[in-house]
Every structure is written in C-alpha cells, then in structure tokens.
C-alpha cells in the first residue's frame, strides 16, 4: 500500500541522512523523497512516498517520530489531501508524430518547455496516478529522458466529515 508522509524536520546538517539511513537500515521502501525549506527558518519539509503493509507503515511513522530532529510526521492516508508531482519528459517526436504527442500533452494539460526537430520536452504536473498515465501513453513514442520531483502533498482545508 502506497503512503505519502509529510515530515517536518529541523534543518540541521545530516538530517537527510538520518531519515534516509533510517529507511535503508530498517529495510523500508522509499519511492520518492522531496525536501525543501518552509516559511520558518531552520525548518524543512520532507515529503516521502513509501509503501508497505500497515504494520510497516506504523513502524515507519513511529521510527521517524523517534528521530530527535523530526518535529512532526503526518501520514496522508485517510486524510483528504492534494497530492502533486512535477515531471519533465523528453519524448521522441519527429514531424510524423509530433501532432499526436501534442494531442496527448494537451489532454493532460502538459506544457511544452522545449522542442527540437526530433523531440519534445513536456512539463506535467499531477498526482501519482496521472504522472504514471502520461508515462504509459508516451512510452510508445520513445521516452528519451525523464526528471521527476517526487510527490509533495498538502492537507485540504475542508475535511470530509468522516476524516
């Protein structure tokens, strides 16, 4: 089961390796990991996308909370949240295929950020599922290169009553 965790950390040297080392040392999965500063000086937000059975996820959350430099951990599972990832993808697109690639790009509201005679570079944002869908549709044209940010997520202000 895939879970997205939001981890607020003290931005001290070594904090990334504490978190990464926890995952590698205990055999937990990291699908993606994103780190950036927050509005508060000295505090960074990590968004970690991971997977595992419920008991493993519970351990991951508890182990993260146990790290002295971790301030707060939120598991977005069961919480209404907005989840996004950005991807840049360079697709083979010669004259014959360019129109078709652009049509797909249009359907997924991708931006064209670079173009050459033989390829197109698209910028796409969306949740995990959408990014995967774009990739699978573009695969048949030949994907030359991709760069992805990994997931970031934020709790919705209006929570459904059950949450």
């Amino acid at each position: 089961m895939r879970h997205v965790l939001s981890v607020l950390v003290e931005n001290e040297p070594g904090v990334l390796s504490r978190v990464a080392g926890l995952f590698s040392g205990r055999g937990f999965n990291i699908e993606s990991l994103n780190v950036a500063p927050t509005l508060e000086e000295g505090v960074s937000l990590m968004t970690i996308s991971t997977s595992g059975e419920e008991q493993i996820i519970e351990q991951i959350v508890k182990q993260l909370r146990k790290l002295v430099t971790v301030i707060k951990v939120v598991d977005f599972e069961g919480i209404a949240a907005v989840e996004r990832e950005m991807m840049m993808v360079k697709v083979q697109a010669d004259d014959a295929r360019r129109a078709e690639v652009l049509r797909i790009a249009d359907i997924f509201r991708c931006k064209v950020v670079d173009v050459s005679l033989n390829d197109l570079t698209l910028e796409a944002t969306g949740d995990h599922g959408k990014i995967q869908a774009i990739l699978s549709l573009l695969a048949r044209f030949g994907i030359k290169e991709i760069a992805r940010t990994g997931t970031v997520a934020m709790r919705r202000s209006m929570q459904p009553e059950t949450a």
Binding site: G14, S17, R18, G21, L22, G25, Q59, K62, V68
Partner: protein, 562 residues
C-alpha cells in the same frame, strides 16, 4: 570571562555531575587532556577505546547515572563503535566524546580523520558535530538530557580540535529546549484502566519484565502488583534482578535459554503484562507460536517497541514505573472485585508443577561443571555482588544459575551480544561502587577480547574478580555446531591458549587455577577475599551445553532439555 572549548567542556561535565571519565588521549584531544588536571574529574586511562565505552556503560548500568568516555579522532573514534552499539541495543545512558580534526580540515581526509557522526548515526540515540565553540555548552546540555531521558541511550559529541581551542563567554544553559523531542512519561489513564480490566478477567496472567523495569526503578511497583494480585513473573535477560529470583512467584527468564516453567507459562498464559521489554527474537522464539492464547498488555516508553514484533491488545506508552504505579492505583480500588489468590490458584499450581517437573539442572559427574561454578559463586557471595558477563555460554549459565535478587546487579550485553563486554564493564561498575564485590563471569574466548584491561584494573587497584569458565572452546558456537551442524567444530577450538595465571601475574594481578571440583570453593573464597585484581582460571567440562534450549525458529515450548 572567555574560556576555551576544552575548559567549557569540563565545566559542563562537572555541572552534569560527572566525576569519572573513561578515556584514551590522542592528538585531537590533547587540549582537553591539558585542561583535565585542573578539574575535579577522575580520568581512567584504559588500554583500548572499546573498553572506555564498555566501562562507561558498566558505570551507567550499575549506578543509573550517565556514563562518559573521551577518545581521540579517527581510530580512537572508530574503536568506540562496538561499545556504542552495545549501549544502544540495551538503552544505556551514555555520552561519548570524540576528538575530531580541526574544522578547516574536515572532509579533506586529514590524518586521523573519520566521519564518526556519519558512522555512528544508526547506533546512537542522537549525535552532534560541534562546529562552533558558542554551540558547545548547549550541545553538551542536550547530549546529557537526551542520553538520560525517555528511552535512554548513547549520544556522541564530536569535538574538533580548533573548537576546543577557540574561546567564548561560557554560559551554562539552565534548561534544555528541544521542541522535536518530548518523550511520553505519563501513560494514558484509559489504557491503564483497560489493563486492570484485563487482569480482572484473566485466569492465567503473567508478568514479563524487561530491562525497562530496571531502568525506570519500577521493581517495587512490580513486586507489589505480583504479590498483591498473585501473578507469577518472568523476565528477559535484561530484566533479571527486577524481581527477586528467590520469590515463590518467580519463574525464571524466558527465551532461547529460558526456564521450562517460564517458557511454558508464556505460551499458556491468557494475559501477559510485558513491562519495558521489546520482544526480541531470542525471547519470543517462533513468533507465530508466541503467547498465542494471551491478551498482551505492553508497557514501554518507546512507541516503536510496541507492535514492532508482536501484536498487542493494550498498548501503554509511558514510563514503566509510572505505568505500574498507575495500574496499582486503579487495582487498589478494585481489589474486591476478584478473589485474586483463589482465582489464580490453579494457574499458580500449574506453573509450580512445571517448575518442579523441569527445574534448571545439570548432570553432576565429578568434573567441574560451569553451572556449579556459578552456583558456588552465588553461595559464597550470598548474591551480594555485581556480576558482569561476557557473551555466550558463560552469560547464559550466569543468567540461569545465579539468583539475582536486586536490579542493577547483573550487567550483560543483552541486545548486541558483545564478547569482551564484561571485564571493562566490571571496571566501570567498580568505579561506581568501590566497596562492592564485582565479578566478571567470562569464557576463555570472550576474556581475550579485552584482556588488556588487566593493566587498567591493576593500575587503579580494582579488586575485580574475573572467573574464566575455561572449556577451551568458543562454547556457544560449538554447542550450535554440535546440535545443528553435525559436530563440525570449525574454528571454535581455542588452541594455543595463554596461561591465564601467568598472564594475570605478568600484568601484576593475581592468578588462580582450579582443576579439581574439590578446590572450587576454597580457591574461589581465597580469590574473592583478596584485595587485588584476580583472574581465576576454572577448567570446566569442555563440552557442557546450555539447556534448556529453544532451537532458532522453534516455538518457545519446543525446548531441548538436559
């Protein structure tokens, strides 16, 4: 007034109540050593940095205070890693101070440079590299606070040489502020009520004490609950001494070399209160068969311990003593709801029958049995001693045949299983309790891992007794080879042993050798009466095994018996 880093360090140590420091000097820490004689802190020069950490660990386990050690950069620092991992596995409060190359050289592969903060990240509770002398006092304050609070553990502080030389105004931070670290001491009242409810409903309840009971000084509460509610008690290796080993409710340690009664009780109980234990694989045996009929109440200060290995019905996060005190308080108001003694009578009769059916025992045949050595030491000392162990058969026989009655009297590497732990730990314990008899129960393999510390013991006139259960084998591995590897005794026979008596004498200690069962008691008595460091080389039966034994992967009640 401005002070240099070295002076600030020592001022901080003094304020943290440190009066003994186990260490080994080197280039990166000369400034600290230069300052040391001007302070009222005793420095104990060990002969290997690993021993400095184990000594600080033994000091901490025996006294309950934070143990402190100081070593130089590079190899000095890497030599501490085993000791740190040992303390981490057993949650021992400790501060490890390591020297580091000057900050401008960090990252340049300088002489005796190593990234010790990186190396020890997974085996410390937390660690720091101090890059600015102005952070030093705050970091040290945090380090001691982290080491001793919550679930205790080792904290490493890496101290670059130039930071020790740099000067700043010294201000002792009165309190520690760490917004990201708030251990839960006070347990949830509702969970405690549920725990009492479960105990009222239980017909076959069992207490299962771990190292957390010792750590949080919860023995009295545990004892009160066990006796008032008529509940038998077992423990882990780390929990030995938390409940008196001569109490009628005591069933012995459980696990791979646990007692028959203890292991049977776990798998037949209908309610288990695990206190400060973490369900290590050596304790549970095959997980799917572990305590399958029991509701489990798990009290631990570390939330990660709960539901890590075993599914728990009533988790209680908090300090063990506070939790047991809370249960006591609630139980006191509900004592009348159950006739505890009568209700548990059939269960107590059952566990008692198991105990008589298969007590801890061994076959006496005229040769010196290692178990008999432990029993003799217990009877000579009447249990009034601090006993450390090495790791392997010596450790298990000590756990089984020495009746521990008080907490902090058994110091042993439970989680990591570090050979070479016992002797330096005994040195630390002797510094904590100069007037107590401190005995290291060793094997001929383990003792050679830190035997150089004889110099430390002799130099400091420590009357430590090292009892070597000498069978000429790495006995526990040999036992596995015998039982599970068709007696393929590969690399377990310790050929070319030193003459331990002469070796002791070469260091200036006393050496004794016992080869006949008839000499056992008199020679041990003579050695224990001596005011000097003594090594007692006891030639025990070579292929004696530790029983009961639960083979790895088997259920707890599938024991091999004597």
């Amino acid at each position: 007034m401005e002070l240099n880093g070295a002076r600030i360090l020592l001022e901080c140590l003094k304020r943290e109540g440190v009066d003994v420091l186990f260490g080994y000097p080197g280039g990166a820490v000369i400034d600290i050593y230069d300052e040391l004689p001007r302070h009222d802190i005793r420095h104990v020069l060990v002969r290997h940095e690993q021993a400095a950490v184990h000594a600080a660990d033994g000091f901490a386990r025996a006294s309950g205070k934070v143990g402190v050690c100081l070593v130089t950069s590079g190899p000095g620092a890497t030599n501490t890693v085993t000791g740190i991992a040992t303390a981490y596995a057993d949650s021992i409060p400790m501060v490890v101070l390591t020297g580091q190359v000057p900050t401008p050289l960090i990252g340049n592969d300088a002489f005796q440079e190593v990234d010790i903060v990186g190396i020890t990240r997974p085996c410390t509770k937390h660690n720091y590299l101090v890059k600015d002398v102005r952070d030093l006092a705050r970091v040290l304050r945090q380090a001691f606070y982290l080491a001793r609070s919550g679930r205790p553990g080792p904290v490493l502080v890496d101290l670059p040489k130039d930071v020790m030389q740099a000067k700043t105004e010294f201000a002792w931070p009165e309190d520690v502020k760490l917004r990201s670290y708030n251990p839960t001491y006070r347990p949830n009242l509702n969970q405690l009520r549920r725990a009492v409810e479960a105990l009222i409903e239980a017909k076959r309840p069992l207490f299962f004490a771990g190292g957390g009971v010792v750590m949080s000084d919860a023995s009295e509460e545990l004892g009160w609950l066990a006796r008032t509610l008529s509940i038998p008690v077992t423990s882990t290796l780390m929990g030995l001494g938390a409940f008196p080993g001569d109490d009628p409710l005591w069933l012995g340690m459980i696990g791979m070399h646990g007692t028959y009664a203890g292991n049977k009780a776990v798998n037949n109980a209908d309610c288990i209160v695990a206190v400060g234990a973490r369900f290590d694989d050596r304790v549970t045996g095959r997980l799917s068969a572990f305590a399958s009929g029991a509701r489990i109440i798990h009290i631990d200060i570390d939330p990660t311990s709960i539901r890590k290995n075993v599914q728990v019905d009533i988790p209680v996060v908090g300090d063990c003593r506070k939790a047991l005190a809370g249960i006591r308080e609630i139980a006191t108001t509900r004592l009348a709801e159950k006739d505890w003694a009568t209700a548990h009578e059939p269960w107590l009769a059952q566990v008692s029958a198991w105990r008589t059916e298969q007590p801890l025992t061994y076959v006496k045949n005229g040769s010196i049995k290692p178990q008999q050595v432990v029993e003799t030491i217990f009877s000579i000392t009447r249990g009034d001693a601090i006993v450390t162990t090495e790791v392997g058969q010596n450790q298990m026989w000590t756990a089984q045949f020495f009746t521990f009655r008080k907490p902090r009297t058994l110091l042993t590497s439970g989680g990591l299983g570090t050979m070479g732990y016992g002797f330096p730990a005994a040195i630390g314990a002797q510094f904590a309790f100069p007037d107590k008899l401190v005995i290291d129960m060793a094997g001929d393999g383990s003792i050679q891992m830190n035997i150089q510390e004889l110099a430390t013991a002799v130099c400091n006139k420590l009357p430590i007794k090292i009892v070597i259960l000498n069978n000429g084998y790495l006995g526990m591995v040999r036992q596995w080879q015998e039982l599970f590897y068709q007696r393929n005794y590969c690399a377990t026979c310790m050929e070319a042993q030193p003459d331990f008596v002469k070796l002791a004498e070469a260091y200036g200690a006393e050496g004794y050798r016992i080869t006949e069962a008839g000499e056992l008691e008199s020679t041990l008595r003579a050695a224990f009466a001596s005011p000097h460091t003594a090594v007692i080389d006891v030639r025990v039966e070579r292929e004696e095994n530790v029983y009961p034994m639960v083979p790895a992967g088997a259920a707890l009640d599938e024991m091999l018996l004597v």
